[in-house]
C-alpha cells in the first residue's frame, strides 16, 4: 500500500452515557454484563489505538448525557485547564486523552440531578460532531489553495456507541443529520452495545456506507471495536468490516412520532403520517375529501391502490419487519 493512500483520518466518537441504561447493562442477569467502568477502559484503549497508529490522526469525543450533549475531548484544542503531568511510562497524547475523557465524564455525571431522567441527547451529540467535522475540514477548502483542500482532507468518520433505545421523536433530526453526513462524505459507524436494535441508527450506518454492529459478545468489546471500527475507509477496501444484511427501513410518522409499518405520504412534501389527514401539517396542502374517505375505509388493511394525493408508504420505501445484523467472522 503506497503512501498516497496512507492519509490521516479523523474519528469522532459519540458515547451514549445514559445512567439508567448503563445500570441495566451491568446487571449480573445479563448474558455478558458490562459495567461502564470496564466499557470506558476498553474504549480508551481503542481511542489510543486510533491516535497511536498515525501521528496526524485526529480525534474528538462527544458525550450524550440525559438531556445534554457535551464535547468531551478534541485533539485540536485543550478542553481542560491543567494538562496531566508527564509520566515516563506513558505516551503523552494517550495520557492526555485518558485523563481528559474520564475527568469530563465524571464531572458531567456528578452534575446530573436525581429524579426523572430525560432521554439522552444523542441527536445533539451527532449534530455537534457533524458541526465539528465541518469546521475542521472547512479551513482547507476555503483558503486559497482549492485544489489542495481535497487532498488534505482527513477521512472523517463518526462512531456511535449506543445503549439507549430509539427515541421516535428524534426521527426527523436524525434523518437530517444523515443527509448532512452524506453531503460531508462522513461515514457513520454504529455499535449497539446494549439493548435492542435501533432502527434509525441502522439506517444512518446504511445510508452513509458505514457498518452497524450489534455487540453479541460484550466481553469482547475491544476486539470488536478494533477489528470493525479502527480501519480507515481505505483499509476497509482490503480487510472487510462486517455489514448488516437486513436493514429496518421503517420510518416514524410526523404527527405522533410513532414508528409505522404502513404510513401515508404527502405527495407534495413527502411528510409521513400514520393515518390519513385532510391537510398536510408540514406544507398545508389540502387533500380531496373523496380520496380521504377512500383511504380511511381502507385504513386497517394496506390500501391496494392509493389515489394520487396520498401514497402508500409501502411503495415508497422497502420495508422489513425484523432486523438482524451480519455476524462477524473471525471474532473469538
Amino acid at each position: 500500500m503506497d503512501s498516497e493512500v496512507d492519509k490521516p483520518s479523523h474519528l469522532s466518537v459519540i458515547l451514549d452515557l445514559s445512567p439508567t441504561q448503563w445500570y441495566l447493562s451491568a446487571r449480573a442477569t445479563n448474558p455478558y454484563p458490562l459495567t461502564i467502568g470496564s466499557f470506558l477502559s476498553q474504549l480508551l484503549a481503542f481511542l489510543n489505538a486510533h491516535i497511536g497508529t498515525k501521528n496526524e490522526n485526529t480525534l474528538a469525543v462527544f458525550g450524550a448525557f440525559p438531556g445534554k450533549s457535551v464535547m468531551l475531548y478534541t485533539s485540536t484544542e485543550a478542553l481542560v485547564d491543567e494538562p496531566p503531568p508527564l509520566d515516563a511510562n506513558s505516551y503523552p497524547p494517550f495520557r492526555m486523552v485518558d485523563t481528559t475523557v474520564t475527568r469530563q465524564i465524571l464531572r458531567e455525571l456528578d452534575a446530573i440531578e436525581p429524579g426523572d431522567e430525560p432521554p439522552c441527547a444523542l441527536v445533539g451529540a451527532l449534530t455537534k460532531a457533524l458541526c465539528y467535522i465541518n469546521r475542521i475540514t472547512l479551513p482547507s477548502t476555503s483558503s486559497t489553495n482549492v485544489a489542495e483542500g481535497s487532498t488534505h482532507l482527513p477521512d472523517p468518520r463518526i462512531l456511535i456507541l449506543s445503549v439507549s433505545p430509539d427515541l421516535s421523536s428524534s426521527y426527523i433530526p436524525i434523518m437530517n443529520a444523515i443527509f448532512s453526513a452524506q453531503k460531508l462524505k462522513v461515514t457513520i459507524d454504529v455499535c449497539k452495545i446494549y439493548g435492542a436494535d435501533t432502527v434509525f441508527l441502522q439506517q444512518a450506518a446504511h445510508l452513509t456506507n458505514g457498518s452497524y454492529i450489534y455487540l453479541e459478545r460484550r466481553d469482547a468489546l475491544l476486539q470488536y471495536l478494533i477489528m470493525s471500527f479502527l480501519p480507515p475507509p481505505l483499509v476497509r477496501k482490503v480487510l472487510t468490516v462486517p455489514r448488516q444484511d437486513k436493514i429496518d427501513f421503517r420510518a416514524a410518522c410526523f404527527c405522533h412520532k410513532n414508528i409505522v409499518d404502513v404510513g401515508f405520504v404527502c405527495s407534495v412534501c413527502l411528510s409521513i403520517f400514520c393515518q390519513p389527514v385532510p391537510v398536510c401539517s408540514t406544507c398545508r396542502t389540502k387533500f380531496p375529501i373523496k380520496a380521504l374517505q377512500r383511504l380511511k375505509s381502507a385504513c386497517p388493511s394496506p390500501a391496494p391502490a392509493p389515489p394520487r394525493p396520498l401514497a402508500n408508504l409501502n411503495n415508497a420505501v422497502p420495508r422489513t419487519t425484523e432486523a438482524t445484523n451480519h455476524s462477524t467472522p473471525g471474532l473469538r
Binding site: S3, A45, A49, T53, P83, A147, Q223, P232, G330
Partner: protein, 490 residues
C-alpha cells in the same frame, strides 16, 4: 581517440517514503536484536507508525488476542482483490519478526505484544517515554519558537554548507561529526585532501523533502554506530524515544525538558551528535537536561510539517510585516513558475535561494522575492551535477506557491516537457573507447576490412565517403592482425 568518461552510475538509494527508509535496515537485523528492541513500549509504538496502514491494522487485530488464530480465519477478512496486498503486508511483518513465521497460526511476537499493550494502556516501569525533568525556577524554559529556530538554524547550516561547497565563500562550517557523516554517506567527498566537495548524490539529496533528508542521514548514522561498536538497540531506542517525546505543553508554549540521568552511556554519547544535527537542544554541553526539537518529535510522521521548508530564514533583514506576509502567503510553497520559464520565488531564505540556484539562472533579487529563469544552460548545469529532470520537476511541484495549486496541471506542461527534453539531449552522445581506421589505399581495401569488422560485430560507426570506420577496443587486435596479414600478403 575517443575515450570513455567514467560515468558513475547514480544509484538512487536515497530513500523514498514508501516503504519507510528504516524498515529495510531493521529487516537486516537479527531476530535477537529486534526482540531486544521490542522490549521498550516507545520503540514498538514508533515502529508501528513507520509501517503501512494495512500492516498497522493487522498488528492491532492480533494485539488483544490471547491465543494464536488460524491463518485461514484472518484470511477470511480479506476481500478477493486485496489478497496480494494482504500477503505483502504479512511478509513485511514476518520479515520484521513482528508476526511469528508459521503457516498454520498467526500470532504476534510475545515481546512486542506485551510492550505494545503497555504502550497503549500506559503503566509499567520501563520509562521508555523519557523521564521529564522537574520544573526549576532557576532554569527558565525556552520557548517553542526559539527551539524551532534553533533546529532550523542547525539543519540549514548543514544543507547550506553542502550547497555552497563548490563556491568560494564558505558559510559557517558544521561540526566535525556532521562533516564526517556527510563524507561517509557519500553526499560530499574531499577531492584534493582539503576541501569537501558536494557529490552528485549530494545534489540529489538537496532536492529531497526534509523528512527524507533527515532519515537518510540518521540511517547513515546507524550504519556508523555499528562500526563504532555502539549498541544498535540503544541507539535505535533512543531515536524512537525522542520521536514519542513531547515538544512542549500546549498552553505554556515553552519547551519540555527531559533529564539525561536515566540514559545509558551510549545514549549520553549520542546526545552530542544529535545536538549537532539539531534534533536536541541543550543549555550547555555538560547539561544534565535536554529538550527534543520539532525535528526529533516528528521523526515518525509520514509527512511532517517540518519548520525547515516553511519558515523564512532567521536572518530577517526585511521589515517584519513583509516577512509575515510572505510566510502567511506561502506556508506550503513559495515558487511560481510561468510558461515563459520565469521562476518567481517568494523567499528571503539564503538556503532556498541557493538550492534554486542549482538549476535556475538568477536575474533579480528583492527583499522577499527572487526572480530567475529556467534556461537550457542552467538546467544542463544541474543535469551535469547528477540531478535528474524528474527531481527538478518534483522539487518545483513540492514547493509550488498556493496560487500555483489552482492550476491543473500544476506546472506548465511546456516547461515540464522542455526540462525532460533537455535531459534527453544529454543522452544524444554516447561515448565508447575504440580505434578509428582511416586512410585506406583503395575503396576495395576499405570495404574488405569493413566487411571483416562487421563479421566480428565491432563496428560502431562507418563513413564510406571518408573511407573510414570506427571499431571498438576489443576488436582492434583482430582487425590490426587482419590488416597486417593482408598488407603482408599483397
Amino acid at each position: 581517440m575517443p575515450s570513455v568518461q567514467a560515468l558513475s552510475s547514480t544509484p538512487s538509494d536515497v530513500p523514498q517514503i514508501v516503504p519507510h527508509a528504516l524498515l529495510p535496515f531493521l529487516r537486516s537485523q537479527s531476530q535477537n536484536t529486534l526482540t531486544r528492541l521490542y522490549q521498550r513500549p516507545s520503540s514498538c509504538l514508533s515502529i508501528l507508525r513507520l509501517l503501512g496502514p494495512l500492516e498497522r491494522q493487522l498488528i492491532m487485530n492480533l494485539l488483544w488476542l490471547e491465543s494464536a488464530i488460524p491463518v485461514s480465519t484472518m484470511a477470511a477478512w480479506v476481500v478477493p482483490d486485496g489478497k496480494k496486498l494482504y500477503s505483502e503486508a504479512l511478509s513485511v511483518l514476518v520479515g520484521l519478526h513482528i508476526v511469528q513465521n508459521s503457516t498454520v497460526k498467526l500470532a504476534l511476537n510475545p515481546t512486542l505484544k506485551s510492550s505494545l499493550r503497555q504502550a497503549i494502556t500506559g503503566g509499567g516501569t520501563t520509562a521508555s517515554f523519557g523521564v521529564p525533568a522537574e520544573r526549576d525556577e532557576k532554569r527558565l524554559p525556552v520557548g517553542i519558537d526559539s527551539l524551532d529556530a534553533y533546529a532550523l538554524e542547525r539543519w540549514e547550516t548543514i544543507l547550506h554548507y553542502m550547497v555552497s561547497s563548490g563556491q568560494e565563500q564558505l558559510p559557517t562550517k558544521p561540526s566535525q561529526g556532521v562533516l564526517y557523516l556527510l563524507q561517509r554517506s557519500g553526499l560530499m567527498q574531499s577531492t584534493n585532501g582539503s576541501n569537501l566537495q558536494i557529490t552528485s548524490a549530494g545534489f540529489q539529496f538537496l532536492l529531497h523533502s526534509p523528512h527524507d533528508q533527515l532519515w537518510s542521514l540518521l540511517l547513515q548514522y546507524l550504519h556508523m554506530a555499528e562500526e563504532r561498536q555502539m549498541d544498535l538497540v540503544e541507539v535505535l531506542s533512543f531515536l524512537f524515544m525522542l520521536s514519542t517525546m513531547e515538544l512542549g505543553r500546549n498552553h505554556h508554549s515553552c519547551s519540555q525538558e527531559y533529564t539525561a540521568d536515566s540514559l545509558s552511556e551510549t545514549q549520553k554519547a549520542m546526545l552530542e551528535d544529535l545536538r549537532d544535527y539539531g534534533l536536541i537542544w541543550q543549555r550547555k554541553g555538560s547539561s544534565k537536561y535536554f529538550s527534543p526539537t520539532r525535528l526529533a518529535t516528528t521523526l515518525t510522521c509520514h509527512s511532517p510539517p517540518l519548520p525547515t521548508s516553511t519558515t523564512p530564514g532567521t536572518s530577517a533583514t526585511t521589515s517584519s510585516t513583509e516577512v509575515a506576509l510572505s510566510s502567511t502567503a506561502g506556508p506550503q510553497g513559495f515558487i511560481i513558475l510561468e510558461t515563459n520559464y520565469r521562476v518567481y520565488a517568494y523567499t528571503n531564505n539564503p538556503l532556498q535561494t541557493a538550492v534554486l540556484n542549482l538549476f535556475v539562472t538568477m536575474k533579480y533579487r528583492f527583499p522577499n522575492l527572487v526572480v530567475g529563469m529556467l534556461t537550457r544552460d542552467s538546467v544542463r548545469r544541474a543535469l551535469g551535477n547528477g540531478i535528474t529532470a524528474d527531481q527538478i520537476i518534483s522539487y518545483l511541484v513540492a514547493h509550488a506557491h498556493p496560487q500555483m495549486r489552482k492550476n491543473n496541471p500544476l506546472l506548465p506542461v511546456t516547461v515540464q516537457d522542455q526540462i525532460r527534453l533537455w535531459e534527453l539531449e544529454r543522452n544524444r552522445l554516447k561515448s565508447a573507447e575504440g580505434f578509428l581506421y582511416k586512410d585506406f589505399a583503395s575503396q576495395a581495401d576499405y570495404e574488405y576490412v569493413l566487411a571483416y569488422a562487421k563479421q566480428l560485430g565491432v563496428v560502431l560507426w562507418e563513413s564510406p565517403a571518408k573511407r573510414s570506420f570506427f571499431g571498438t577496443l576489443e576488436g582492434h587486435a583482430n582487425i590490426r592482425g587482419f590488416i597486417e596479414r593482408r598488407s603482408g600478403a599483397s
